[in-house]
Structure formats: C-alpha cells, structure tokens
C-alpha cells in the first residue's frame, strides 16, 4: 500500500498538470451598461467583450488556454465595483478590464496589493505614476494600472495647445477665456487642475468652473452663465449623454463658444442625438481611423464586430474600436507572460506590458495607436489626435451608418499634438 503513494502522487500531479493546461484563465470585465456613463460604456464594453470572444474563438485563448471572461454591469457605482472586485479576487482573476475613474482610483490600492493588472476605461492621469515618483500629494504608486490612449489631462493639454493656436490664428484681440464644465465627480474633475494650470500658462483667462450633472437634463441656466461669462473655450468633462443636453441648451440660448470634448464626451451616436448642436465640437480620438475608413487592421476589426453582429451592418462608434485596442493590449501582455511556458500571473502580465516599444497589437496595424509603457511611466501615449464633429443637416432620420455614409455627419481631423513627456506632468 505504502509503495503506491508516490505513484498516486505522481498521477495526481500529472492530472492536475493536464487540467491546468486546459484550465480557463479567469479575467474580470467591469461594464457600465445601465449607469450614468452607459452611453459610452455600452459600445466600449461591447468592444472588449467581442475582442475577448474573438481571441477565444480564433486564437484558442492565450497559450492554448481559453479566457473565462467574468463580465458584470456595475451601473457606474464605485461601491458596487469594489464589492465586485472582492468577489473577483476570490475567483483569482489574473487581470481586470475596468471602467470608470471613481472605481478605478478606489481600487488602485487593492490591485496593487493583490497584484492584479487593471486596464481601465478611465484615463485619469493619477493612474500613470507607476513608480510613485511624482511626489505629488495624494498620488500613490499605481504599478498595476494601465489604459490605452492619452490621459484625460494630456488630452486636455493637447486641446488647450490647439486652442491657443486657434485663438492666435483667428486674430481676435485680448486674452481667450477658458472654462471647465462637468459634474462634481472624480471623472470630470480628474483633468481640472491640470487643464486650468496649463490654460493659465498658455495665456488664457481661467473662469470659475460650471457644474452640470452626469445625467441628461435641462441645463439652460448653466448655458446662460456660460454666455454671461463670455467664455471662448469650454471643456466638457462629462460623457456624451449629458454633454448633448448642454450642447442643445447652449444652442437654444445662443452661446458662442468653442466646446472641447473629452475622449468619452463625443462620438457618432452623440452627434446624431445632438444634431446641429454638436457641430464644431473638437475632441480627441484614440484610434488612427474610425469605422467606415480603411486601414490594414480594419479587416480584423470587422471580423471581431461580426461576433455580435452577424449582418455586418452595425456602425461601431469610436469607443468600440478603443475597447478592442485596450482588450488586445491585455491579451498580448498575457501572451508575453505565457511565453516559454510561463505562468499567467498578475506580475508577469504587468511585465508583459513593458515588453514592447511603440506597441501596436498584431493584426490591428493602422487602427490602434502605438503605446509604450515603462515601469515608472504608464503614460502609454502622449500623442493627441484631435477631430472635429461636423454636422451639416438634419440627423433625426436615418441610422448613424447612413448619416455617416451620406456625409451629413463626419469626423474631420483637426490636428495631432505631440506633447513633451514632461516629468512634472506625470501622475497629474
């Protein structure tokens, strides 16, 4: 009997080994499908989900192990995200595709402690100081937080740089006036200080911020305030849903101001909903092309899109493409972790993010913009591509795809700003 024990043990080891090879890799996906930011949360979450499903179907997951995607709708409520995180930590997820700023910032300490890479939909600059070197008050080291695209602050810096140039070109007299608009919430607040500081540096008059909620509503009085302040450039810090309300109210109130959207503040759906009120809004786009244009990587994008839309007719807004790029960064970092028989663990995935320079996921060339992460600096990119929403007609009839095809709505490239990698902008 005793002589059998080593054999049994060996057999058990082989069995578990075989099971491990087949075992699915658990990965969390936090979505906002029903909350204040669900207008953009739905296309982004759909992009992430489709990309991961495609990886499972076409590439047999990561290193032969399929991904077990645990997706949850948390309704943009940070406390719910925290309790969901605790459940995921029990399920030993190796990485999480996250979402909002409030919840991501609340979870930084947890993911750092549990060493779980967290790829957020929040581009808050506070998540970029991986080594905790910035020495800023209240900014902690965030070695496990990543995101795809320029940070909110950097995107706003890019827009302000353009705005200063735009003001000079227009030849209007005096100093331009800049105002920050958004809800009193971590996400719109995130780039506020950075933007106002740079605006002052660039010679803007910085006006007192205007608050409007993250939900749609009647913002006429805010627009009247905006008009009476005489602002020339206004940053819209919220997501598309409430920005539309502001744009429409300001159009009615006859406000003449150049609106600057944030990455989540404007998209094709919002242009359709806002109609002519959205005309002229300048905002950053994170991919090199948008749906309907062509690039080498768009073929893959279309294949992925067919996963949830077999007809291939659905128009995918910019956030869908960004969701795919973000998910593919995670997948490739996991592949790096799994290379040469390595285990797919949190720290190894994090190192996977550092393995490449000017990193474009393979198969997505010409769509996803290159990112570079280092152990000290998680600002993946400092290049801000600005587009202008152009609406030339009535948008109430027809789908987004038709309107885009008919050129009633289009996204017009404005400029691309390459910001310097200033160390004093790290984590801010």
């Amino acid at each position: 009997m005793r002589s059998m024990i080593p054999w049994l043990a060996a057999a058990a080891l082989t069995l578990t080994g075989a099971a491990n090879a087949q075992q699915r890799i658990p990965i969390g996906q936090l979505n906002d499908f029903s909350g204040a930011t669900s207008d953009v949360g739905v296309p982004y979450g759909q992009g992430v989900a489709d990309a991961l499903a495609w990886v499972n179907a076409q590439r047999q997951g990561v290193a032969g192990r399929p991904l077990n995607v645990l997706a949850v709708d948390y309704g943009y409520q940070a406390p719910r995200a925290v309790s969901q995180y605790q459940a995921w930590a029990r399920d030993r997820v190796v990485a999480i595709q996250g979402w909002g700023t409030a919840d991501t910032e609340a979870l930084t300490r947890f993911v750092t402690r549990d060493r779980i890479p967290y790829i957020s939909g929040s581009y808050s600059a506070a998540l970029t100081d991986a080594g905790g070197r910035s020495g800023r008050q209240g900014v902690e080291a965030t070695p496990y937080n990543f995101f795809y695209g320029p940070s909110y602050s950097d995107a706003l810096r890019g827009m302000l740089t353009w705005a200063a140039e735009d003001w000079r070109r227009s030849g209007r007299p005096g100093r331009p006036k800049y105002v920050h608009m958004g809800a009193n919430h971590p996400y719109p607040n995130s780039p506020k200080a950075a933007g106002e500081a740079l605006a002052a540096e660039l010679g803007f008059d910085v006006l007192p911020a205007i608050v409007f909620a993250l939900t749609p509503g009647d913002y006429t009085s805010q627009c009247l305030t905006l008009r009476s302040q005489g602002a020339n450039y206004a940053y819209l810090g919220n997501t598309a849903g409430s920005n539309i309300s502001v744009l429409r109210a300001c159009q009615t109130a006859g406000v003449q101001v150049q609106f600057l959207g944030n990455v989540w503040g404007m998209d094709e759906n919002a242009m359709k909903a806002a109609g002519a009120a959205a005309n002229g809004v300048v905002f950053p786009v994170r991919t090199a092309v948008v749906w309907g244009q062509d690039a080498p990587g768009m073929a893959t994008m279309r294949t992925i899109s067919r996963g949830s839309d077999p007809t291939g007719n659905v128009y995918r807004p910019v956030h869908y493409l960004a969701g795919i790029c973000s998910a593919m960064l995670t997948v490739e970092a996991m592949e790096t972790a799994a290379a040469n028989g390595g285990e797919v663990t949190g720290p190894r995935i994090r190192d996977g993010f550092y393995a490449r320079q000017n990193w474009v996921p393979r198969g997505f060339e010409g769509v996803c913009n290159p990112s570079t992460f280092t152990a000290e600096d998680h600002r993946g990119t400092l290049r801000v591509a600005l587009y202008r929403a152009v609406v030339t007609g009535d948008t109430s009839g027809g789908s987004v795809a038709e309107l885009m095809a008919a050129n009633t709505m289009r996204l017009e490239p404005v400029t691309t700003i390459d910001l310097p990698r200033r160390p004093d902008w790290l984590g801010w």
Partner: protein
C-alpha cells in the same frame, strides 16, 4: 404572540408576560440557530457568506428604521443618508487613529447625535410632512457628503481598513461574518429589550394614538426625537460595519434608492416586528440575486433576445424592488413576520390547525 405558547395563555405575572422567549423550545431554537450560523463559514463559500454579511448589516439598519417607522409611526425617506454618515464617521475616526472596533460604536453615537439634530424639527412634523422633510434631508446630506472633503474624502470617497481584534484581522467574509453575528445579536437583543421598557412602550403608544399618548403624560416631542436618535444609532452602526467590510466608502452608495430599499425591507419584513427586519433585509439582498439567476436561466433563449435581459439586468432588479414593495403592501401588508407566525402556528397546532 399567543400562537407561540403551547395552548391558551397561562401567564400569571407581568414578568412572564414580558419575557422575550416564551417557551423552552424557542430558547433552544435560538441557541441552535446561532450555533448553526457560527458554523456557516466552514460550509459556505465566500459568495454566500458575502450575502449573509450584507443581510446582517442591512438587517441592523432596517431594524433601526423599523423602530422609527414600525414602532413610533414616523416615516423617514432618508435612512441611507444616516447609514452613510455612520460609514463616513467610522472611516474618519479610523483615519485619525481610532481602532476600528472602537470607531464603529463611536460612529454609531455620532450618527445618533446627527439623528437627534435632524429629529428636533422632525419631532414637530408627522406623516407625509415628515416623509417630505426627510426626502429633502436625503438630498441635502448627499450634497454635503459630496462637498465635505475633510470628512468624506469628497466625491472620490475614502478608503478604510478591516477591524483587527488582538492581532486577528477580520478582512475576509469568513472572518468578518463573526463580527457581524456579534453585532446582530447585540443590536437585536437590545431592540427586543428596549421594547419591554417604559420608553419602548411609550414609542408604541405614540404610534398608536398620539393624542391619547400625550394625555397619558408621554412627551411626544421627546419620544419622537428619541426614536429618531435610536434609528440613527442603528443606521450608524450598520454603516460603520459596511465601511469596514467593503473598505471603501463613497457618496455614490447612499442614494435615495438605497433609502427606499431600507423602507422596503421594513415593509416586507413586517412593520413593528424585530425579527421581521432581518427577514426583510434577507429578502431585499436575495431578490436581486434571484432576478439575476432567472435572467441567467433564460440567457440565449428567444425571450432573452427579445427583451434584452442580459444588458438590462440592473433595471430588472430595480423593477423587482419596486414591484416587491407594492405587492407586499397590497397582498401582505403585515409582511414576512406574519407569514412566519402563521407557518409556526400551523405546525404547532398540526394536525388540528384550522
């Protein structure tokens, strides 16, 4: 209560009339129940324990609201704000060097003080006026939480830590479960005893007929305020437990919907029933899980595709909460506690139940 005694009412003294546990069997059942609960972490997984912890925490808060609504007849649509105040207060105390086990009761007391302050005007209002005033209080307090950076951490919220007792850290559902059990026993025991005291009966008298109560020498304003204070104390304790369980407090959690959920717990459990508060909390915690389970069962089916169940799960949950409140009000206004008594009576009298 008479249904719980074997047959007839044999009580001959006031003392016997006031006992909490009427029979030996109910004492045994309680002891067994507690023992069984203590064994739960060895059998159940983290997910189930998490639900149980939430039931315990919400049960305490619901009990507080029940003392206000069910026993004193005052309505509050701002209970979640007091729950939130307790959570922020405890996190704040801990931030300033108070140990968690002390910060929790301290937060309860702080919340009680705030409750008394809010109860001061509330003592002069009743019925729907009070409902509207507390509704306003809910929005005002929410705004305060979002603004008071020094106290709440502002809109970004505040991180906090798990309770530690002599080196033992209650950081996981398995361990925190015991903290909650102790709190539940203490708080529910205290409430059961409160209702036997002069003050407790005075609260009930205020509810039943405030004019008669006043004529019998009960100071209405005092007892309404007291009731507000007690309710806030319970909400504060529950909120503090919540803070040190979730380890993160943010103003986003303490919305009007949360307040309404507490009221739903009280109504579904049974107005004026101590055990009912726990049952109502269990119902409210499990309801969304059941809804989600049902939606998951239908995943991929034609119904799912037609109704977009998967993407709408949070709306379905909210609808279930609203529907549950209405259904209970219309069909079972005395709540689960009455149903439970009927079931017990049925088995006690079996086979001669009528």
């Amino acid at each position: 209560m008479s249904a719980m005694t074997p047959a007839g009412d044999y009580r001959t003294s006031y003392r016997a009339d006031m006992t909490i546990m009427a029979t030996r069997n109910s004492r045994i059942a309680l002891a067994l129940g507690i023992a069984l609960a203590c064994a739960a972490p060895f059998v159940l997984d983290g997910y189930m324990l998490d639900l149980l912890v939430m039931i315990g925490i919400f049960g305490i808060a619901a009990l507080g609201l029940n003392i206000l609504v069910g026993f004193t007849g005052q309505i509050s649509i701002g209970h979640a704000a007091f729950f939130g105040f307790g959570a922020f207060a405890s996190a704040y105390f801990h931030e300033h060097g108070v140990a968690v086990v002390i910060a929790i009761p301290l937060a309860g007391i702080a919340t009680a003080v705030v409750g008394l302050v809010f109860g001061l005007p509330a003592a002069r209002l009743k019925g729907l006026y009070l409902a509207i005033a507390t509704l306003a209080a809910q929005y005002i307090l929410e705004d305060f939480f979002a603004r008071a950076q020094w106290f709440t951490g502002g809109v970004a919220g505040r991180m906090t830590e798990s309770p530690t007792i002599a080196g033992w850290v209650a950081g996981r559902p398995e361990s925190f479960f015991y903290v909650v059990i102790v709190a539940v026993i203490l708080m529910f025991g205290a409430a059961a005893n409160l209702m036997r005291t002069r003050d407790g009966r005075a609260l009930v008298a205020v509810r039943d007929h405030y004019l008669s109560a006043e004529m019998m020498g009960i100071n209405l304003a005092y007892y309404r305020m007291l009731s507000f204070g007690i309710a806030s104390f319970y909400a504060g304790i529950a909120g503090a437990l919540y803070a040190h369980y979730r380890l993160f407090v943010s103003v986003e959690a303490f919305t009007i919907l949360f307040s309404i959920q507490f009221l739903g717990m009280v109504i579904i459990g049974g107005l004026g029933s101590i055990a009912g508060s726990l049952m109502g909390a269990a119902f409210m915690v499990l309801l969304p899980e059941v809804v989600e389970g049902l939606a998951n069962l239908l995943t991929g089916s034609a119904i799912d595709r037609a109704l977009r169940l998967g993407a709408s799960i949070s709306f379905l949950r909210e609808m279930a909460i609203g529907a549950a409140i209405i259904v209970f009000l219309v069909f079972e206004p005395d709540g689960l506690a009455r149903r439970w008594r009927l079931i017990k009576a049925y088995w006690k009298l079996y086979p001669y139940s009528h």
